[in-house]
Symmetry: C2
Subunit: 319 residues, 2 copies
């Protein structure tokens, strides 16, 4: 019988989502387990395998699974390992032989692994907004800023398997904000959901401008979005600043790989009504004339609840 189904697994810091997926991108069965209740990888893999076997049964997919694709922080495509992922309780500074361990636990089904943003880019190319595109850059605007770069139809992994860390390119060269990576001035420190909330707090402290955001104990990017919808001027300026800065940096990326499109994804990208204009301006004001107005800015078309599973699953079609 044809092995025409795959499994996608999205390993997040708190939870791990997994699903059985068909060639059209339909998630036939899915489940979630905790990621953060283990201090070593073996019991986590054991529970994950149990969960996978459960959804395989649920989808009537016994013997039909061609392969398993995994998106995980610091996942290395070449080696199948997860290296130095501080957000995973069972990984930390260790190098985890993830793909091999999971494949063994699943009776030898082949496993391919990459980082979450690369998986998202593959998902978008296989099922989403980048279908038919051979050259695009996916930027994930969530807690951090991730990226997956596709050139000539292939995800760029680079010499060591870790290419595409655009969230840690520099946007503020001198006296930039400190970033979780240990550097300062990174794109992620300004243009992630957390970065925008940091800008909000800084601005509110430095000025007396009235804003509904002042009444909040803790500001999130969602709060800023809600305030912007109500016409709050500080919130609108926050989107203007954050979007423009992202657009400026996208100009650099366009000059690198001349993509057909930039694809945005993630929590912050949901605020597209406030982001599209400043991003587009920042991009076109800073890119070489030959690309002005030519590179598309598009948003992910994958259903958010399925996107992480679909992205990871699309890796498995290569197997």
């Amino acid at each position: 019988m044809a092995q025409d189904l795959v499994i996608g697994i999205d390993v997040g810091g708190q939870t791990t989502k997994c699903g059985v997926v068909d060639a059209r991108g339909t998630v036939l069965a899915q489940t979630v387990i905790r990621t953060d209740t283990y201090t070593s990888v073996e019991p986590y893999i054991a529970e994950l395998a149990e969960a996978l076997n459960r959804i395989i049964t649920e989808a009537n997919a016994e013997g039909l699974i061609r392969g398993i694709g995994v998106g995980a922080p610091n996942g290395n495509y070449y080696t199948g390992t997860i290296e130095y992922a501080p957000n995973l309780t069972w990984a930390g500074q260790k190098k985890i032989d993830f793909a091999r361990l999971l494949s063994e636990a699943m009776g030898g089904i082949p496993v391919k692994l990459t980082n979450d943003a690369n998986a998202a880019a593959m998902g978008e190319m296989t099922y989403g907004a980048a279908r038919g595109m051979k050259d695009f850059i996916m930027i994930t605007l969530g807690t951090g800023v991730g990226s997956g770069i596709v050139i000539d139809g292939k995800v760029v992994y680079g010499h060591d398997g870790f290419a595409g860390e655009l969230g840690h390119t520099c946007v503020v060269r001198h006296n930039g904000r400190s970033c979780g990576c240990g550097k300062t001035g990174c794109l992620e420190a300004y243009c992630s959901a957390i970065g925008m909330a940091r800008t909000a707090r800084e601005w509110l402290e430095m000025s007396d401008e009235p804003s509904t955001l002042r009444s909040l104990d803790k500001i999130t990017s969602k709060d800023i979005y809600e305030a912007a919808k109500e016409g709050d001027k500080v919130a609108l300026k926050l989107f203007e600043f954050t979007g423009h800065m992202l657009g400026e940096k996208l100009a650099d990326f366009i000059e690198f790989s001349a993509p057909e499109a930039i694809v945005l994804f993630g929590g912050l990208a949901r605020s597209k009504e406030f982001l599209t204009d400043p991003i587009t301006r920042g991009m076109n004001e800073n890119v070489l004339p030959l690309w002005r107005g030519k590179v598309k800015l598009v948003y992910s078309q994958l259903k958010e609840s399925d996107a992480a599973i679909l992205g990871a699953s699309s890796l498995a079609w290569e197997l």
Copy 2:
């Protein structure tokens, strides 16, 4: 008989260099014609064809030419056209169907074309410092700053054929120097030979620091190199500043494509004794920890007089 020779052509603003090349990278015969004495492309192509036939005869290569590779400003790999090259007297704002015209003039020998920096990258991969490498970034430090990016063994052309304009990525976001491209703050405006000479003039005007450079009417990067060799402090600081700034920006590029090496080429790269240290520091201080100390900085190994021809010729092996 096997067609085991190729022709390489380097179209520069003033002269066009061409040569017959064998598979080992030996230039069997070469010649130079003027580029800048024509206002339309047809007579230029006619003289170029004549020159090529001359060196084909000289190398006893009649019937042995597999193809012709051309490196030219704003050359488009996909279409074989030269588009909007203001430095070419017979091109200007026009779109020149260069590959087709030359192929017709040469009795149908196939012609492949790309920009000069991409050609240099191919030359380095085929015959030079990047032999055996699948992922590297070539930076040409000459009058301007050019780049050729190789990922997974292939030059990156992007969606439209113009990828790899790293000289026009931004190094100074606010109040940056104007660049020939119409933008401000570009890498090329600071880290080219001309950029470093501009920095020299600015510094000498702004300070009273003694320097042998003060006695010169017009400062070139070669003058700065000579002064640095004599221990001139301003000249040494100019290399420190220019190299460090280039290194800072290289960190961005590494985070994009995770190359095995950065390959430097061009007039300014000859000053490696003064550039290597500050570039390496700028790079390692600004790149993510995972790449610190890991990406090689190497210099072109091609004989400078042959390099342009070799680079262009390596395109023709694909034919």
